[in-house]
């Protein structure tokens, strides 16, 4: 650090870093400040479609939120989906990521193949699973009947709708986690592995004490990116169940959308959306804190 060239480079660094970072910041602020400000404004007013007169109502939209049992229900559903999906997708993602980083013949094909679920447009995913999970005509129940099992109502039963959504989400997004992790595996240095082998470590030990710690930064990023999307769970619910049956699959994002667009209450919808935004920020902060503590 005390080499003269390094010190000189430092002042140039300042300018360079600034130039590198500012376009991204300008873009972010330009694109999101107005929308967030607008949502904040809406949430403090009583929104009447079409009218340009605004009536400030203070925090009453937020107060209404606290007393709204569907809101709390959707909060609960959001958290259940978030935790269950994240846990399963991380575990499966790590497993897949490691498996895919081995250079066996056929590895390329498999990597492309398992990524397909993340590639298909969510509309198609939703409609496809509606068909597959149809209680009477669906392929899933056909498989169960072959196996001698009782048919399930899947999405149409409040007791199984979340499990069904979790299965679909894990199927769709574990490969996404795997892809990030494979990328990380490929940038890992080889010496620690060699050293561990020389020390006579078994497979589990290598995984637990070498692979996992080295992969941690990449895994944390994968978790962070997936969390941000999971807390805003939307597409498949919007397409398949609209939050039903009987609100059993209502997520915060879907609920705020329904309030804003279907029930034409943009103010209340905005209030819920801001709560959701806050929740996402909070969860991301926790994850970045964890990330820093670990590294």
């Amino acid at each position: 650090m005390h080499h003269p060239r390094l010190r000189k480079a430092k002042s140039n660094d300042l300018i360079a870093a600034f130039l590198m970072v500012s376009p991204a910041i300008v873009f972010t602020l330009a694109m999101i400040i107005f929308p967030i400000g607008y949502a904040l404004f809406l949430s403090l007013t009583k929104w009447v479609p079409g009218s340009s007169v605004t009536q400030f109502v203070g925090l009453s939209n937020f107060r209404r939120m606290l007393g709204d049992h569907v809101f709390w229900l959707s909060f609960r559903v959001t958290m259940i989906l978030f935790i269950a999906c994240l846990l399963l997708e991380t575990i499966i993602g790590i497993y897949l990521g490691i498996l895919l980083s081995k250079d066996l013949p056929g590895q390329k094909v498999l990597q492309a193949v398992i990524l397909i679920p993340s590639i298909i447009a969510s509309v198609a995913i939703g409609m496809m699973w509606i068909q597959i999970l149809d209680p009477t005509l669906g392929f899933a129940n056909y498989l169960l009947s072959i196996g001698g099992l009782k048919p399930l109502a899947w999405l149409a039963n409040p007791g199984t709708v979340l499990q069904s959504l979790i299965i679909i989400d894990v199927w769709q997004w574990s490969p996404f986690m795997a892809l990030i992790i494979t990328g990380g595996m490929r940038t890992l240095p080889s010496e620690p592995f060699e050293a561990a082998l020389i020390d006579g470590a078994n497979k589990w030990q290598i995984f637990r004490f070498v692979t996992l710690p080295l992969l941690r930064p990449v895994i944390m990023v994968a978790i962070l990116l997936r969390s941000v999307d999971l807390v805003r769970f939307f597409d498949t619910v919007y397409i398949m169940t609209q939050g039903g049956p009987n609100n059993a699959s209502m997520t915060l994002n879907v609920y705020s959308y329904l309030q804003g667009f279907n029930y034409m209450d943009m103010s209340y919808g905005s209030a819920i959306m801001l709560f959701l935004l806050l929740l996402v920020i909070l969860i991301s902060l926790v994850i970045t804190k964890l990330r820093r503590r670990m590294s």
């Binding site: 873009f27 940038t187 805003r232 994002n253 959308y257």
Partner: protein
């Protein structure tokens, strides 16, 4: 002996995984070659007379070629822009530990998409009263960049961080500027990360439908919005939907296959580093 068991084990896993992840996809693709009446049939029809009608109809009934082109324009440019904005930012963030800026860039991705719809619509309306296609594409590309850029930033930070500092320091001593370090050392070393970022940005941007619903008009509508149009009152065109879905999935799939080469290249870069 050890080796053989290893191979068998790995391939058993390969087959199970391929079945699990590919099963529903196979169902989709095979449905795209079926008549509607066979798609909803129970028990499922395994053997059927394949038809190309679903695909032909896409181009006969809809300006499907135009939709495909629109999707490519929006996704391609938003991915590119996301990389241009995101990669240098990620490098600076990784090297100077600008964590707050990293979080700020993620803010765009944290906000629920619905939140943007009306405000953006208001802005874009006030900017292009005469509604020309170029302005439309531009607003869509910028909107989709909200999806791609934070993804690129966050992925690249972790890949840049995994490059050891001493590699760069020795280059500085050799008279390399910060930009030189970025272009000549950091970027080549993080090629696998770059490949992953590109693939994922492309996929996310390609599949996002909400922004296009608000900002696109007839001429600039991408594929994903149109995919909703197959199931409507009085006409449930399952075959058309499955054919459209299959086509929608193809480009990202092809890209993934191509990016594999980059991923492998990254491996050799890692070897040099090691």
């Amino acid at each position: 002996m050890q080796n053989k068991r290893y191979y068998v084990g790995a391939y058993v896993q390969y087959i199970i995984l391929a079945l699990a992840f590919l099963g529903p996809v196979l169902w989709m693709v095979s449905s795209s070659f079926k008549n509607n009446v066979d798609i909803t049939a129970y028990p499922p029809v395994i053997l059927f007379k394949p038809t190309l009608n679903n695909y032909l109809n896409l181009f006969r009934v809809y300006p499907f070629g135009q939709y495909i082109l629109n999707s490519f324009i929006i996704t391609g440019f938003s991915t590119l822009l996301g990389l241009i904005l995101g990669v240098p930012a990620a490098y600076a963030i990784a090297r100077f530990r600008l964590n707050s800026i990293a979080l700020l860039s993620l803010l765009a991705r944290m906000a629920p998409g619905v939140l943007f719809l009306i405000p953006w619509y208001i802005i874009s309306t006030s900017l292009h009263i005469s509604s020309n296609d170029f302005a439309d594409y531009l607003s869509l590309i910028l909107a989709h960049c909200v999806i791609t850029m934070p993804l690129v930033v966050w992925l690249m930070i972790s890949y840049f961080e995994s490059i050891p500092i001493d590699t760069e320091e020795s280059a500085v001593i050799d008279g390399c500027s910060r930009w030189g370090l970025f272009f000549r050392i950091a970027l080549p070393l993080s090629l696998p990360g770059l490949a992953v970022s590109t693939v994922l940005s492309f996929i996310f941007s390609w599949n996002y439908f909400l922004f296009a619903l608000a900002l696109a008009n007839n001429a600039t509508m991408p594929l994903t919005v149109i995919a909703f149009n197959f199931i409507g009152e009085g006409s449930a065109d399952w075959g058309g939907l499955m054919a459209a879905s299959t086509i929608i999935s193809l480009p990202a799939l092809i890209l993934t296959i191509f990016a594999q080469k980059l991923l492998i290249k990254g491996l050799t870069a890692g070897a040099i580093k090691g």
